[in-house]
Symmetry: C2
Subunit: 300 residues, 2 copies
């Protein structure tokens, strides 16, 4: 069976296109790694690369990024709107096909160890790769940013998982880990009442008592005269799309409002959609092996 | 993009395993053709092979089947419960990925022409490959079977599309065509009232006024004390699963009966499940490119 891991490194360079292009070229040069996308934001001064492959290929691609980024990026003179801790700021590994989360966690630790050893960049593990509840959340780890890193790292509770005890002088530190694929999911409501979208968002998001793997906010879509519950679903296996949709729909009914439509922004794993079909159709005994394309792939 | 066509030839031999195995081996030997499954039924005296590949590979595999089957199978001495017209009885080509129905129709005609020329087996086109409404349905073409074939073929309206004018003396004729993937789909109802399942089946199937691409019958599942609406969905794009499910559910309500569960038997194309998710979630502007696995595949 094919094993596919997705990796989405965030690098603290969004203005010098030669540096960004050199990193993209380094990823493309790794056999078995497919560069799916990359984009730079000048005001964030940050670029995001998306690539996929088996564990060996994505590991080689991540190390190739460090080879280009560490000498080229000096955080002492880096400015941008987006918070950052290091030249290679965040490296998540995401299980896509034929790969368990445990394998992605093992890969994150393997890569983290190699990064600390070869590039003298200390690494914090995060999300599923971190066993420490206080150090799972990216925002918590990154708080204080590069400028506050030396002081933060000297506190025992912020000793890095690999490398250290001090930050790399120009490349800072990296946050490396494993997480489920994110699904950016919006539900548009047939009303212009922003308060309804905001109340529903508050009801379903984890931070205010809702589902464990939902981040949500309410917005107005002024040009269309409707409102939106905008969400990130951070674990579609444990908080599935259909449960979130059904809850938003029921809560909207309570205000006399209907769901106009929903939308998936960007990519979604096939399994997340299959779970919706299973729920709605009340499918008994359904298995991913029954999806024709999976069967064909397995026979290749 | 990968191009995948599925082909499911039905061969009139289900007892002599050496003949069946030789055909399976011939398919496996074709580069680019993946044999997914094959099974024989002794009482039907018939075997079904399922394989996939691009047009060139599936064509080569079909011709390899004829090379083995035509000399080995003599319909003059063949007996079995299943109706049949030829040694290689039916050959459907099914578009799976990156392939249009028009391409499958063109392939069916190309293969049919080659079969008539190389093996002197006349061919009837069927389903989407046939332009003649009276000759689209497999049952209509096969009526009279091998034993009645010489007489049937002599009628002008039953002249074969390729080859002829007489049947092959031992291998009869073949029915070759293109069709959508079949989905075997059952809905179980929380009742033991067989009349309810039968009435609903009659309401949704094409033959008695229901949906164009639904075949359906009502059954009892005696060991479970429930009834089943058992269906074949012959075109999930034009008669989608969700519309059938929703209709069965509403009709059952009319008798005070609930849907217990539904089940997909065997394989289902991913697109058929994605259409269910799109419907239930009221997804706006969703495209197959947004499925992560499709994106990865396209980048390979």
């Amino acid at each position: 069976m094919t094993k596919i891991i997705e990796c989405i490194p965030n690098v603290s360079e969004g203005r010098r296109s030669d540096v960004v292009e050199a990193i993209a070229a380094a990823i493309r040069a790794v056999p078995g790694a497919s560069l799916l996308d990359f984009s730079s934001d000048a005001s964030h001064n940050r670029s995001v690369f998306t690539f996929a492959g088996d564990a060996a290929a994505v590991k080689a691609a991540v190390l190739a990024i460090y080879e280009r980024a560490v000498p080229a990026i000096d955080l002492r003179s880096h400015a941008g709107e987006h918070p950052r801790l290091g030249a290679v700021d965040v490296v998540p590994f995401v299980p896509i096909e034929g790969v368990t989360m445990a394998e992605c966690v093992a890969l994150a630790k393997d890569v983290a160890s190699e990064v600390a050893r070869r590039f003298a960049v200390p690494v914090y593990l995060y999300e599923d790769a971190s066993a420490n509840p206080a150090r799972k959340n990216l925002e918590d780890i990154r708080r204080g940013e590069f400028e506050g890193l030396a002081q933060k790292m000297s506190a025992p509770e912020w000793a890095p998982d690999y490398g250290g005890p001090a930050p790399h002088p120009t490349a800072g530190a990296s946050v490396i880990g494993a997480r489920m694929p994110l699904i950016a999911y919006n539900i548009n409501l047939s009303t212009d009442r922003l308060d309804v979208a905001k109340k529903i968002a508050a009801g379903i998001r984890h931070s205010s008592g809702g589902f464990r793997y939902v981040k949500a906010a309410g917005f107005e879509l002024k040009d269309r005269g409707v409102v939106q519950v905008s969400m990130n679903l951070t674990n579609y296996e444990k908080t599935p799309i259909f449960r979130v949709f059904e809850t938003v729909k029921r809560e909207a009914e309570r205000y006399g409002v209907a769901v106009l439509e929903s939308e998936i922004v960007g990519l979604v794993p096939a399994a997340a959609l299959h779970a919706v079909a299973e729920y709605y159709l009340q499918l008994a005994g359904f298995s991913a092996d029954q999806v024709l394309e999976n069967k064909l792939r397995a026979a290749e």
